[in-house]
Structures are given as C-alpha cells and as structure tokens.
C-alpha cells in the first residue's frame, strides 16, 4: 500500500505579483478541483481572501506572513483558518533579509506566540532557510513556540544547494521535535524535486509544490510523475498535468522574467 502524503500548493504565493487578483481566485478554484491538500496565498485584501474561500471547497486555505506582529495580527483578523508564519531560522537570513539579530528573532517569536495563543489559531511554522540553520538555534526557536498549538513545521530551503544526505539529516532533526512536518525545496540549481522526494521518504508528510516550476519551488507535475508509484497524494494526476500545461502557456513570458530575477548573483551565496 502506498504511503499517504499531502501537497501544499504555493503557486499563488510565489507568483502572486504576476497574476491579477481575479485570476488568482480562478486558479485557487482550479487547484482545489485537482485535489491539493492546502493552498497558500499571500496576505491580500479581505475581499480577495473571501472570494478565494468561496471557490476553495475541499482544500484548506492558508495565508503566508513573515514573522512580523503587525502582519500576523492582520492575518489573524482575515478570517482564514490556516496561517503560515515564516520564521527566519538561519543567521544569514536574520541578518541579511530581516536586517535584525538573534535577540530580535527570539523576542519577536515570543510576541507572535502570545498573539497566536490568545487567538486560539493553529499556525504552521515555516522554518525559512532551514538548510543553513544552526541546530542549537533551530531547537531554541522551536522550543520558544511551546504554548502555541502548532499544526505543522515546514522546512524551507532557500539556497537550493542542499544535498540529499543533508536534507535527510534536517528532516530527521525536525521530526525529533514531535510535530507533523513539511518540506519546501528550492530549484535554483535543479535539486528541488530530488530533495522533496528525499524529505518525503525521510518522514515529511507535506510537500510544498507549485505549478509550472515558478518561484523556484518543486514542480508539482514532476513530483507526481516521479513518485506516483510510492506515494498516494489524493490528487487527480491528469488534471494536475493539464493545469500545469495551461499555467505554463498562460504565464510563459512572466515565468521567464521571474526566473531571471530570482537567479541569485553568485557572490551572494558564499
């Protein structure tokens, strides 16, 4: 019997700026129709989120927010049940993306935890740049989240240079925290499908994927094509392939621009 795994779609999140709001709602409905488990989108207007909520029938609708109390408060008020909170888990990310330090990360984490606990929501913690996290810091931040009712953890690789063995090791470490686990690979160097497969084989239950290989994430069609004989995703595979083709045709030019912009300068990686 095939093991059950779940697909979290991040197309609308990764590609949100390139798709007009009305089309985003349409795509949310189409993704729901093929049977993805969860559809993550950015924190857009309340009206748009409600419109998406109406077309999403089977899947879980989720919004993604960075670790920022103001945005988290907005997300909690938005009425969407599932919230993905990005936790910068590596020093390079805290220092270069957020331009803060570790103490800020701890303090803000506690602030977010209190807000979530007060609201009674069950967030998903997205451990951003988990592949470069220092194990001690990773553990200390996850421990700080005690008191929150965490739905799951998602290990997010940002650099796309994670080897298969490093991916398995990271998943092993995160599983020891006792939460349900997901994985989001990066396709900067063509490793996302292999790393996602490795994560799923190592015990992660959720895979973050996107249509048409946008935003550097794992390509849904490729993952389904490769692992359909070992995992059961509850997805209409033919429908997913058709949707992938349609998406690529519709946003071909936009995808090329996105890819050009997302390619990091070589100097930034080292």
């Amino acid at each position: 019997m095939k093991a059950a795994r779940f697909i979290t779609d991040i197309t609308l999140l990764s590609f949100s700026k390139r798709i007009p709001p009305r089309e985003r709602v349409e795509w949310a409905g189409k993704l729901d129709a093929i049977g993805v488990h969860e559809i993550v989108m950015g924190l857009s207007s309340r009206r748009e989120l409600e419109a998406c909520g109406q077309v999403i029938r089977r899947a879980q609708q989720a919004v993604y927010v960075p670790m920022d109390p103001v945005q988290l408060a907005r997300a909690l008020r938005s009425g969407v049940r599932s919230i993905h909170v990005e936790i910068p888990i590596s020093y390079p990310m805290i220092y270069t993306v957020y331009r803060k330090n570790k103490d800020w990360a701890r303090k803000t984490m506690c602030e977010c935890r209190d807000m979530v606990a007060e609201s009674g929501a069950s967030p998903t913690l997205v451990l951003a740049d988990a592949s470069r996290a220092e194990p001690y810091f990773l553990e200390s931040l996850v421990q700080l989240s005690e008191g929150m009712h965490i739905e799951k953890l998602i290990a997010k690789d940002l650099m796309g240079i994670q080897t298969l063995s490093a991916c398995a090791e990271l998943i092993g470490t995160l599983l020891s925290f006792g939460y349900e686990l997901g994985y989001e690979g990066s396709d900067q160097f063509g490793l996302s499908v292999a790393n996602t497969i490795q994560a799923l084989r190592s015990g992660a239950a959720h895979a973050n994927c996107c249509l048409g290989n946008v935003g550097g994430g794992c390509d849904l069609r490729r993952l389904l094509q490769t692992t359909a004989r070992i995992f059961q995703y509850g997805i209409d595979r033919k429908g997913a392939e058709h949707l992938d083709r349609t998406f690529k045709q519709q946003y071909r030019g936009e995808r090329l621009r996105e890819r050009e912009n997302s390619r990091p300068a070589d100097c930034r990686l080292r």
């Binding site: 063995s165 160097f189 292999a194």
Partner: protein, 219 residues
C-alpha cells in the same frame, strides 16, 4: 580531485546545427571547469591540436581506437557496452537495478566503467545503492545518472559527496543528464572546486549556448 567529463559537444553534434563553433565552446567548457570533453571522431578532427585540451573519444567499436593510438590529447575511449584495456577503451553500461547481475558481472573486472541509468536511486535507500555500486566494480566508476526522475544533478552531487571522483554532465542537462552549469556551481559552493573566474566563464558559456540554441530553434 573531482573530475567532470562533459558531453555537451556530442549532444550538440546530434542537433546538426549549422556552423557549430566547436572550438569556442570547448575552450569555454574547459575554462568553466570541465576536465575532459567527450567528442565524436568527426568533432575531434575539427579540434585536433587544441592547446591544453583533453578529450575522451566516443567510438562505436573498440577497433576504431587504433587509428587514434598516437594522439596525445585523447585520454581514453568510451564505447557502448564494449571494453578493451589494451586500447584504453572502457565500456559505457546502463544499470537501472543493481540486481542486473549479468551486466555487473560482465564488466566487474574492468579498470574503468561508465555507469548510466540509476535514476531510481532517489526512490531507494540511496547510500546503500551507492555503496552497492562502488563494491560491484573493481575499477574506477564514471557516474552518469539519467534525469528520468528529475534528480540527475542531485544524484551526481551526492555521488561526489560520498567520495565519487568522476561524473558525467552536459550543458543544461541536454541528453537527459546532470546539468553541467548546476554541477559546476554546486561543487564550487559546497566543495570549493575551481575559482570564481570559472563561474564568470560559466556565465559567458550560458549566454553563448543559449543564444545559439534559441537562434537554431527560431530558424
């Protein structure tokens, strides 16, 4: 030292592009960090005498190697499923399952073998699969994973992480292989292989080859 064998030129030749600038591409590939270029006899004749170049000649029959025995820039010869140690010809074999006892046993004693296939490794306990592969052959292994599971680059990287020394790639993964540019960059970041100037050359190569392929497509 990790050695990259690049077979971009063999694949480009199959595209039958008009006025293919073989020498220029070969020079860029060497500058980017390829150690050996795999070429066909036709392409080799066009590039003969290129300074500092090291080639692996793809031949159809081990006997063909005799004609090139004195060529200093040909390191060795690769031939599909056939070997001849005296003529420096080593076999290229496809293994999709280590239980393929017949193929493994036939080439076990070769001093070098190129192993293709292996795409399914990503769906199996990989360390075990790689250990089995290493112990199956007595000689050196050139690792040439297929990209059937979209994992060739990943498997190639993992092979080098587990001590593998020779890998086979092609630009943009043409011919269902690991992508040369990705493997080169990943080995630079993770293993410090080659210098930053190689990455600059890589950008030049990407621009040159992409424009060439796009031009041929539109024509």
């Amino acid at each position: 030292m990790i050695r990259i064998i690049d077979r971009t030129l063999v694949i480009l030749e199959a595209f039958d592009l008009p006025e293919l600038p073989l020498r220029e591409i070969a020079e860029l590939l060497f500058a980017c960090g390829a150690n050996f270029l795999e070429v066909t006899p036709t392409a080799y004749r066009q590039m003969e005498g290129m300074q500092g170049a090291q080639f692996i000649l793809r031949i159809q029959n081990p006997e063909e190697a005799r004609a090139y025995a004195d060529c200093q820039d040909i390191k060795r010869f690769v031939c599909k499923s056939r070997a001849d140690t005296a003529l420096r010809v080593y076999p290229e074999i496809t293994i999709n399952d280590m239980r393929d006892f017949f193929t493994v046993e036939r080439f076990r004693r070769c001093d070098r073998v190129r192993v293709c296939g292996l795409a399914d490794c990503v769906l199996q306990p990989m360390n075990q699969a790689f250990q089995n592969l290493k112990s199956a052959f007595e000689g050196s292994i050139e690792f040439a994973a297929d990209n059937d599971c979209y994992s060739a680059t990943s498997l190639t990287l993992q092979w080098t992480m587990m001590g593998g020394m020779e890998v086979v790639t092609s630009f943009m993964g043409m011919g269902n292989m690991a992508a040369f540019e990705d493997v080169t960059r990943l080995l630079f970041y993770l293993k410090g292989r080659r210098s930053r100037s190689a990455l600059n050359a890589l950008r030049q190569l990407e621009v040159r080859l992409t424009s060439m392929l796009l031009a041929s497509e539109s024509a």
